[in-house]
Symmetry: C4
Subunit: 202 residues, 4 copies
């Protein structure tokens, strides 16, 4: 019991630490954006800064989605251990690099940069999937849950960031990408609800 | 009940995360201010840095007012959900851009920059109003409260930042603006007290 | 009672927010320090960076002393209110400017810069004194305590940062300043112990 | 008892403050990395940024190990005092300088820079050892524990960061260094388990 309590304190500190890294990364996204030297009127200002603000908004949304995923994963854990620390550090290390990829995106907004950027985000998702896989299947750090649900969480956590980011950027070019994006979120939500409803009925 | 508890843990983590973003944004305000290369005596130093320090003080006060509003809104919530996350992220995204607008303000301290700046702050207020409107009327995330009070909170949260910021900057030019500002705060406080006193008497 | 509880939650959030600002300011102290372009061996490296590292160490100690004071003040409070928010924001606003003063100190390490720097630190102390004076004498936010102790805390909180900072810098030039510094800390500690011992005996 | 409680609140605030400094330092590691001006394809991008990303990964791992050590030390404490504040501030001051050493490492990746860098990390370990030595032997801030275990913790905390960092960098040049590193972690873990198992059996 003392072991479990200390694992819970460990979990609490790990969550606070991760939150701080997320918060700093999200706030640093804006730090390399500077106002243009000359501008006349708000319209001109936004015309000159549009691509930077778009990249900022996309990355802000990306970190938001990752934070959301991270919160949902950790809400299911009951304790932490050293292995979780390590996998979580990999996630945080990739999150802290996102301001760099964002800067790249607005300095060279072509297909190659977008590819590297989406690849970076997809990697964050995979790393988060690793955290969950370790916690659920190796470290046994979660409450007892059906294997099917654990696998669904794994897929959602691992694939959603890359898919959502890719679709969002795709939608900025082809507006009907938003329909795909909405459908993706909807389907994920429906499956998630059905899976979490089932054990309650049992 | 389990659902509500998890909503409360969610709320706690959301508040801590928001606090971290506020704290980082407020501290980053100062990061682009550098001392002048040559100066003789404190008077000369302040003469050269005056406009930057003024912009810093205004933005610090603005983030202070927003944090104050945010704290008051979230003190009335009893749980959080995914929708609240999203609206709160919009607020944080605007807060994190404030150092950028502040930099713009001291580099080009004319009417246009002031307009963009006050517009930015007003937008933060409106986004915070959205958070409250969602929490109180859609997500039912608050304790039970009279509709009249909920609407008053909405107006105060949504309009106060823009009004206070506009009046503060106006007061730097026309000193009698401070009287308007004091009157605004006083009236808001009086209405707030009357509204929160009423249900207790009932 | 509900009022008091909400005041305690408010206090908790205010402390966390302040801690975040302190932590960010203290970490940003180092951000403008860059390694020299050319250096041969560790001795040369330290010779070239010595004045920056000294300024860093002094400012780190200054923020440390302020955090220490802040923690001691807030450990005596039992609730918070809007007035405390405002005075505390003044303290945080001055803390967040310390990286700027530090940069000034290493770019122009002469008497004038030292004077401005020590003045800045003394101002932080006075602002912290204002926080305590408001909390203890106006807002009645503390546990009941003898007036003599409250006044001693006020003097210690308001004067210590400026005195310690001035003496530390003085000691870098005249080594016997360290004796004065040690005596100051010792005397303050003795008075503090006597004052806090007295009511326990009563 | 009131004394102990206040020491526990103090400890909690100290841990949160330290976590914030760790989180900021770890996130700032990436802030001086900028994308190259010209690049074609992901392979060229990584070729140009490889040395910076390697230095980033090493420093991220170093701060990770330090955070891990810090968490383990503080999980054994039951209260804090002013002395702990001071020693902990020395650790944090060295942690906050790590982005500077990392920058040095990628700007001048030769033997001298590596030596200064590993020396810096070893110093962090020694400072953390000082924190533990003070807490366990002078301030009596821990739960009661056998002297042998306290000394083992001291050695592990004080020497591990420097050893692991040195071996990691060594392994980037000579791949068989990884074997030494794995052996070091394994042996430390085995001794730690035996020591913490013993008192439970008693």
């Amino acid at each position: 019991m003392g072991e479990k309590d200390s694992g819970a304190g460990h979990l609490h500190r790990l969550v606070l630490f991760s939150d701080a890294v997320f918060a700093i990364a999200i706030t640093l996204l804006a730090i390399e954006i500077h106002p243009p030297e000359h501008w006349r009127g708000a319209a001109d200002l936004f015309a000159q800064m549009g691509h930077k603000l778009t990249a900022y908004a996309v990355s802000f949304a990306v970190i938001g989605v990752c934070w959301f995923s991270h919160r949902r994963v950790f809400a299911r854990l009951v304790r932490a251990n050293g292995g979780l620390d390590i996998f979580n550090f990999v996630v945080l290390g990739l999150i802290a690099l996102l301001p760099l990829s964002t800067e790249m995106l607005w300095e060279k907004p072509d297909g190659e940069a977008v590819l590297v950027y989406v690849g970076h985000v997809a990697l964050i998702g995979l790393a988060m999937g690793l955290v969950w896989a370790y916690a659920a299947f190796v470290g046994k750090l979660t409450e007892p849950m059906p294997v099917g649900e654990a696998i669904f969480v794994l897929l959602r956590v691992a694939l959603l960031p890359g898919l959502m980011c890719g679709l969002t950027i795709f939608s900025l070019v082809k507006p009907w990408g938003w329909v795909l994006l909405a459908a993706l979120v909807l389907v994920m939500n429906l499956i998630g609800r059905r899976l979490s409803a089932a054990p309650k009925a049992a």
